[in-house]
């Protein structure tokens, strides 16, 4: 057991220590080294942790405050790996801006302080056994990232940061009410106040909790955490924050923070599903997911700013994952979880390359960017890979997970109707028509999205660059994550490594009603 305690100590201690050490120095090289060392340490302990979880099942540590099962281990996988590639990219990105005088060298330590606090809050959220601590940590991510979003201190950045702070704080306050209601229902069964919000305890007694209270609680939790995920109609802060924040921060927000917020919803769903029929939470996720997917697909068609384009694509992909979880079943849930990983990879790649383009062309307008292939060949390839992965083209792994979700959609059985299926054949037919029509509408939006996305990308990549833009791209450390992430997207699309597959299977088991 002591090894687990040590691992947990690394996970929680390393980012916190790094945060305060960052404040102590102003040497850029030292700060980047510290960041990289922290992230490498986290990745190593994550690999050890996955082995532990696969071998021994769920773990608890720190007197029951920490609870790690396959689902949290999977989310931690996304946090640590995307985090590591982000720190490599940050090195090149910030060095460039400091060299150009956009960022004063003295402000780097504050950037890293906030970055590590942000990381710490996300890891705490994922590891917390207590739903209340989960809430505190997710609110902590909001507080840590506002100043990161407004890091350039431009008017637009301040505006985006303010909207983010206010909207997410309000949303998250609603989630706290949901948490209070969950506690209200469980304390009546458990009586023990200090443990009545613990996931381990809640799962034991979930069947006895009052369904009325849980229904209300889940609605508040979904709307609250849904604001952080960026589900329509609570998404309005998202395109602004994503287009104004520094590129590595956006990559973390889009790839990792959204995933952590989804994790909060999934945790609540796993508990609520024990007491209520799974259709209740499933249908809610389905509706929010589909509306987000469809609205984002339409907004993508009218975007003329490539960062906002990627931001709306985030909303769309989260909607897609939500639909997967909403349909449920082993296929839908597996697809949804796998899609979280693929989206995190593709979206961080997209924002890394968008950051490179922005630094070279000094504009976010798609119309002003041309000839990327000539100006920045490596970035152009990365952007093409990210774009094609985001529209779900093979051989990228997003294709696999999207197909899984669509398959789940097409084969979904409406439990209430299959009850009649034996007696009324006509209803069974109508069912199939219904689920197929859902898929048809879904694919229609997917086609619109594909068209809009590839059209915009092609316009940026081909052609001749404007006169003032220098040609060619010098090699730096920031290119490593571009190449590795692209390879990972292809690799996961061709073959899913056994440990990840085993982890995903276990995580699906956590989410399905036993």
């Amino acid at each position: 057991m002591s090894t687990i305690a040590a691992q947990v100590a690394v996970f929680l201690g390393a980012p916190l220590l790094a945060a305060f050490l960052s404040l102590a120095t102003r040497q850029a090289r030292l700060l980047h080294g510290l960041n990289l060392a922290t992230m490498t340490g986290l990745v190593v302990s994550e690999i050890a942790l996955i082995q532990q979880v696969l071998a021994h099942g769920p773990l608890t540590a720190l007197w029951g405050l920490v609870y790690i099962d396959a689902l949290s281990a999977f989310i931690l996988l996304i946090i640590t790996f995307i985090g590591l590639s982000c720190s490599l990219y940050t090195w090149a990105y910030l060095d460039d801006y400091v060299a150009r005088g956009v960022i004063a060298p003295g402000r780097l330590s504050r950037f890293f302080f906030l970055f590590h606090v942000f990381l710490f809050a996300m890891i705490t959220a994922t590891m917390a056994n207590n739903l209340g601590v989960l809430w505190v940590a997710i609110e902590g991510t909001t507080l840590a990232t506002t100043f990161l979003i407004a890091f350039f201190r431009k008017r637009e950045g301040l505006e985006a940061g303010w909207k983010y702070l206010i909207l997410c704080s309000v949303g998250i306050a609603l989630a706290l009410f949901g948490t209070v209601l969950t506690y209200y229902s469980s304390v009546r069964v458990l009586g023990d106040e200090s443990e009545a919000l613990n996931v381990t305890k809640l799962l034991e007694v979930a069947g006895q909790l009052d369904p009325h209270v849980l229904k209300l609680a889940f609605i508040f939790l979904l709307v609250g955490y849904g604001t952080k995920i960026g589900l329509v109609p609570m998404h309005t802060w998202l395109p602004e924050a994503y287009s104004e924040a520094p590129a590595p921060v956006t990559a973390m927000l889009a790839g990792v923070l959204e995933t952590v917020a989804v994790y909060a919803v999934l945790r609540s769903k796993a508990i609520v599903d024990q007491a209520l029929p799974p259709e209740f939470s499933g249908n809610l996720l389905m509706v929010f997911g589909f509306v987000s997917f469809a609205m984002a697909a339409l907004f993508i068609l009218i975007q003329h700013n490539y960062k906002r384009l990627f931001a709306y694509s985030s909303i769309e992909h989260m909607g897609l994952a939500m639909m997967g979880f909403g349909v449920g079943g082993s296929v839908g849930t597996f697809g949804g979880l796998f899609h979280l990983l693929n989206h995190a990879l593709a979206k961080s790649l997209a924002f890394f390359s968008a950051g490179n383009v922005h630094r070279r062309f000094t504009t976010c307008e798609i119309g002003d960017v041309q000839g990327l292939a000539a100006a920045q060949p490596v970035t152009a390839v990365a952007m093409l890979v990210a774009g094609l992965a985001l529209v779900g083209m093979p051989p990228f792994s997003t294709f696999t997970s999207e197909v899984l979700v669509v398959t789940a959609l097409a084969t979904q059985d409406f439990t209430s109707d299959t009850f009649h299926a034996g007696r009324f054949f006509s209803i069974t037919v109508a069912d199939e028509v219904r689920s197929l029509s859902v898929v048809a509408v879904f694919l229609l939006f997917a086609v619109a999205l594909f068209g809009g996305f590839t059209y915009r990308l092609a316009a940026m990549v081909w052609g001749t660059p404007p006169e003032h833009v220098p040609r060619g791209e010098a090699w730096d450390v920031g290119h490593v994550p571009l190449i590795v992430t692209s390879l990972a997207l292809v690799g996961l699309g061709v073959m899913l490594p056994d440990p990840i597959k085993a982890l995903l299977d276990r995580a699906v088991g956590v989410l399905l009603v036993r």
Binding site: V133, E139, R153, W162, L165, S169, E193
Partner: protein
């Protein structure tokens, strides 16, 4: 505890919650920003008193800690931060509103009814002592939410958010006799840091936009 004293205690808790609701209406009806901040401080004191009463009547001691934290953070520290912001920014009044005061008060009345309507099915499950406070707490949350939408100045929006937090705290105390202590402390920490950040932020907004009127934040559009 005898039935009589329990009924009396229940009445006292209800009285405290009702007074809290009343201060919400006072905040909605107030134009002067410093008066809004003062009303928020009064509300926090009332909240702490109600929580302390619940702690006394139930004998659950950790609610005292939460009540004390409420006084220190929400009745003293945060109002002080907000008043500094108001003074420095030289904005004293909310002149133009999205919804005028009489209409706001009517809407808030409707929100109270809505809150009672939503919580109707789950109220009978609650503890006898604090049964009706859950509905009132939801009403306070909704009114705080409404204040954020209906008012334009950054400071009033922050007060709306803090009123929501107070409603949540009342809900936790009334529905379940307080959350686990670790959660309670975490929430207070978040609220305090949030208020500090907002304080810094309003300064930056003032410097960049020459205003804390959030309707001027319109640079970012589709």
């Amino acid at each position: 505890m005898s039935l009589l004293s329990q009924q009396l205690g229940s009445q006292m808790v209800n009285l405290g919650s009702a007074l809290l609701l009343l201060t919400c209406f006072a905040i909605v009806a107030q134009r002067r920003l410093t008066a809004c901040v003062d009303m928020f401080a009064v509300q926090s004191v009332l909240l702490a008193a109600t929580a302390a009463l619940v702690a006394f009547l139930t004998g659950i001691h950790h609610i005292y800690i939460a009540a004390a934290l409420t006084v220190v953070i929400k009745a003293v520290l945060i109002p002080r931060i907000l008043k500094q912001v108001v003074e420095r920014l030289n904005v004293t009044r909310e002149l133009v509103m999205n919804v005028n005061i009489p209409a706001s008060l009517l809407i808030c009345g409707g929100l109270v009814m809505l809150a009672f309507f939503i919580t109707q099915p789950i109220i009978p499950l609650g503890f006898l002592l604090t049964r009706d406070s859950l509905a009132i707490s939801l009403a306070i949350i909704l009114i705080g939410f409404f204040t954020m939408i209906a008012r334009k100045k950054a400071v009033t929006q922050v007060i709306g958010f803090l009123v929501m937090e107070n409603g949540l705290f009342l809900g936790a105390t009334s529905a379940a006799y307080g959350m686990p202590l670790i959660v309670e402390i975490g929430v207070f920490f978040d609220v305090l840091v949030g208020a500090l950040i907002i304080g810094i932020y309003t300064h930056r907004l003032q410097d960049a936009f020459d205003s804390v009127d959030t309707t001027k934040l319109t640079t970012l559009k589709e």
